[in-house]
């Protein structure tokens, strides 16, 4: 590793995390450092965009261009950032509330447009920052601050959801497995197109220490011979009742990115060279 230009230290900022001891987000952060270093992404060439939540504090802990924005808008902000400067590596991060609740309207569109970015959702099945309300991934029947008589809602299946949006890369990791997670992060970041990674990231504070154990016991990696190029197969394996939480890459089929599409539009629109804006005046000649 000594010949690497950017080591993990280069990605670490001076800001001290406010996370609780045992929070899964520490693991996600460390895996992200590793992945960035593996890929040698220049810190000054990265835009790391988050929403609001415990998990969304992550960009502050990375020495880069971070944006701790507003709740639920990771994807449009990232979309604007990417399309306004396609040479920047864009990664969006946030929580399950941020991404699957208030932000859920943006998922289909970033995915189907195939914006060339990575989106990591730290799923702890709870609203951490606001102190323990149910999230769209809180299991049916669970008791939280807002479901004192038991959660009346069936949770979302993020993998199936993203598959249905035709995301070109869909994966799941567990913060408890830093090395595997780093590897998948690196593949997601290197992926050309929209890469979604659900990071199971326990919240000991509001879900108890058991959450970590539960995930550990109910998750397993996709078989090593699994080929992530079949939407039907991926959909099947994403059935959590049947298969528990499968980890790994469910789907990875690159297709034309939005960047490429826009470049081709720009080509088509240019007759020759770049005209002066004032040439547009001809448009208004009667």
């Amino acid at each position: 590793m000594s010949d690497q230009k950017y080591t993990i230290k280069d990605y670490r900022s001076d800001l001290k995390p406010i996370w609780c001891p045992g929070c899964g987000d520490f693991g996600v952060l460390n895996s992200l450092y590793q992945a960035l270093s593996q890929l040698q992404i220049p810190p000054h060439n990265l835009a790391l965009i988050s929403g609001i939540g415990c998990s969304s504090r992550l960009p502050g802990y990375v020495q880069t261009y971070g944006f701790n924005s507003v709740h639920g808008r990771v994807l449009p902000i990232a979309t604007g950032a990417k399309m306004a400067n396609t040479s920047v590596t864009v990664i969006g991060v946030g929580g399950d509330g941020d991404g699957f609740s208030i932000g859920s309207g943006h998922n289909p569109h970033a995915a189907r447009k195939n914006i060339d970015m990575t989106y990591i959702v730290m799923n702890n099945s709870i609203y951490g920052l606001t102190k323990g309300q149910a999230s769209p991934t809180t299991p049916f029947g669970d008791i939280t601050k807002t479901t004192v008589y038991g959660n009346a809602e069936s949770p979302i299946n993020p993998i199936r959801m993203m598959l249905s949006y035709n995301a070109s890369f869909v994966a799941r990791v567990f913060s408890g497995h830093p090395k595997e997670t780093a590897g998948i992060f690196a593949k997601a970041i290197a992926h050309k197109g929209f890469a979604f990674v659900e990071a199971l990231s326990p919240c000991p504070t509001w879900r108890g220490r058991e959450q970590f154990t539960y995930i550990k016991e109910n998750s397993s990696y996709l078989e090593s011979d699994y080929e992530p190029n079949d939407l039907v197969k991926a959909w099947e394996l994403a059935d959590e009742v049947e298969h528990g939480h499968k980890l790994g890459i469910f789907y990875n089929v690159p297709r034309m990115t939005y960047t490429e599409a826009v470049e081709s539009i720009q080509e088509k629109s240019k007759v020759s060279g770049v005209p002066e804006p004032m040439d547009l005046l001809n448009m208004f000649a009667p």
């Binding site: 800001l15 835009a47 971070g66 944006f67 994807l75 902000i77 629109s269 770049v274 004032m278 009667p286």
Partner: protein, 595 residues
């Protein structure tokens, strides 16, 4: 002998080609050097319903569409009925209508006394005969009225040819024939009254532009790199224009899933250093308030265009109103500084867009450009020369203040500077890495809940307002400085106010007007000057609840100047007429002084 100004209304069903007739007419007129104004209006049907245009032509620059029509052209009386409250007529009105229309004459709701001449023409039959299809009846109609009222004739032919230039020669020819046929019909069959005859000297061609197009053009001129939007009436033309032309300039136009996505995409684009804009109207702008606040807090320049329409809620999407003013100023939660700029006509749409980018980029602040459907969707002719020597404007819109090498050693993105402006970096700049934040932050951009830092940052963010006030006094004055009656209006009300003030002064009623182009920060200086010698100030606005009045009074104590204030607020739907304003001025001029 002839008149130098003419206002023509045309009404018919969607299939009658009313709108394209209007467009051909103003294009022809503009190419002959005339100043023009064209407004459209539609019924509720999505397609094939009623439509109307009104066109005004003048040798000299004009500020409004003209209150009353000289000429009314009706292709279908049934469809005309939809607009009967929208048209006012001059005395000695001339009507040109379709003789084949079956509508019972007695049901036509126009005072017969007002009508001086009434020509009936079988448009469809003439069209069929001349060009083989009754579809060309709108072109025949143009031929008829050009002959009746001496409108530009060669220019009309040229415009028709241009309009159909992508069609076959046959089509072009048959349309040109339709014009001629219309003209000949008049010569042969009609007894011309000739009391309405338009007279003008051809001069160099004018451009024809809609307000929304002018905004889009101004944005490209300013170096726009990224636009994200969501379709909404009456702002859609901005997005459509940019979708067509922005890629040519290496920019990106994206239609997003909604306005939340649009505004946030624009904030994201600004974060990476691009000039970025979105455009919307009422319902859309209400959804954008959260992230306009984000841009304010993160100090990221963005331009947000609101082409106002009638509210509240869905309201009347196709009609104009000025009721979003206070929302533009105060719509986001918290102390969230922004700049609000209002164009007052089509040309202004270009200027104020350029100004918006200039201010946004220089001061790192969101700018809301408050247009409305009256400006945004009308066509006006514009002297192309003004664009050739761009002295009036900003030759080049500033780029942002980026950090110096020294500053990058220990970069503080939100440094507390005297001006309130701190250097901003973006991806690509080594050493400039920082965290942008909607959360309150220290100079580094790191989260804080410290009361003193919050206070210091508030001061920093609002200092920009003071500087902007110093840099600009973008207001317009009309009438004599020393008038004791004043009228204040904004945005699209300018045209009617200007013409009414001119008329009042011409008739001996001394009245002055002030129209601010920059609404926020409040331009204290010009307003103080204006109010200082006023006894009575009329506050004119097209908004029932009177937001402009509340705004003005909030920022300037009229009482301290001994000025009484007279609200003049009308519900939206239609803009002010010159008459309405003029009558108000007369009324106020007769009022006893209060004190």
């Amino acid at each position: 002998m002839g008149q130098k100004d003419i206002a023509i209304g045309i009404a018919g069903s969607g299939g009658d080609g009313v709108i394209s007739a209007g467009e051909i007419l103003i294009n022809a007129s503009a190419s002959d050097g005339l100043f023009t104004f064209m407004l459209k209006s539609f019924g509720p049907q999505i397609r094939g319903g009623e439509s109307s245009v009104r066109v005004r032509l003048n040798q000299n620059p004009i500020a409004t569409q003209g209150d009353r029509l000289d000429v009314l052209v009706v292709l279908s009386w049934k469809d005309f009925m939809r607009f009967r409250t929208e048209f006012l007529f001059k005395k000695d009105l001339v009507i040109v209508s379709d003789s084949e229309d079956k509508f019972p004459e007695k049901d036509i709701p126009i005072d017969r006394e007002m009508i001086k001449a009434w020509y009936q023409v079988p448009f469809a039959s003439i069209a069929k005969e001349a060009s083989g299809t009754s579809l060309a009846k709108n072109i025949v109609m143009l031929g008829v009225i050009s002959e009746l009222f001496k409108l530009p004739q060669d220019a009309l032919r040229r415009s028709v040819m241009k309009k159909f230039s992508h069609k076959s020669n046959e089509v072009i020819e048959s349309n040109v024939k339709a014009i001629t046929a219309g003209q000949e019909y008049v010569q042969v069959n009609l007894k011309k009254e000739d009391h309405v005859l338009f007279e003008y000297e051809p001069s160099h061609p004018k451009l024809v532009m809609e307000g929304n197009e002018a905004v889009a053009f101004g944005a490209i001129y300013s170096g726009l790199k990224y636009f994200a939007g969501y379709p909404i009436t009456p702002s859609g033309e901005i997005m459509e224009f940019l979708g067509k032309f922005l890629p040519k300039y290496g920019g990106v136009m994206m239609q997003m899933e909604d306005e939340l996505a649009s505004i946030n995409a624009v904030v994201g684009a600004s974060f990476v250093g691009a000039k970025a804009m979105t455009a919307t109207s009422g319902p859309g702008i209400s959804l954008m308030n959260e992230s306009i606040g984000l841009a304010s807090m993160a100090e990221l320049p963005i331009v947000v265009v609101n082409v106002q329409r009638v509210g509240p809620s869905t309201g009347i999407p196709t009609k104009t109103e000025q009721a979003d003013l206070m929302q533009a100023i105060w719509g986001s939660h918290g102390d969230s500084p922004r700049v609000v700029i209002a164009p007052s006509d089509v040309e202004d749409c270009f200027d104020t867009t350029v100004l918006s980018f200039y201010i946004a980029e220089k001061y790192q602040i969101p700018v809301i450009l408050l247009s409305d459907s009256f400006i945004g969707q009308r066509k006006e002719s514009i002297n192309p020369d003004r664009f050739r020597n761009m002295e009036y404007g900003f030759k080049k819109v500033n780029t942002r203040l980026t950090p110096t090498k020294e500053e990058l050693e220990n970069f503080k993105r939100y440094r507390l500077t005297e001006s309130g402006i701190s250097a901003v970096s973006f991806p690509g700049i080594k050493g400039g890495e920082y965290q942008a934040a909607g959360i309150e932050h220290d100079e580094k951009g790191w989260p804080t809940s410290d009361v003193d830092i919050h206070n210091a940052m508030n001061r920093k963010r609002f200092r920009k307002h003071d500087l902007i006030k110093k840099e600009f006094e973008f207001v317009r004055f009309y009438g004599p400085d020393d008038a004791e009656i004043g009228i204040v209006g904004w945005g699209s009300s300018k045209g009617a106010i200007k013409e009414a003030v001119e008329r009042a002064n011409a008739e001996g009623i001394k009245v002055g007007a002030i129209i601010p182009q920059i609404i926020l920060p409040f331009l204290t200086g010009p307003f103080e000057k204006f109010v200082s010698n006023k006894k009575k100030v009329i506050m004119a606005e097209v908004a029932f609840s009177g937001p402009f009045r509340r705004y003005l009074r909030g920022f300037i104590r009229f009482g301290d100047y001994g000025a009484s204030t007279i609200p003049f607020r009308i519900s939206g739907g239609a803009p002010f007429t010159v008459e309405q304003i003029y009558d108000k001025i007369v009324e106020v001029s007769k009022m006893e002084d209060k004190k």
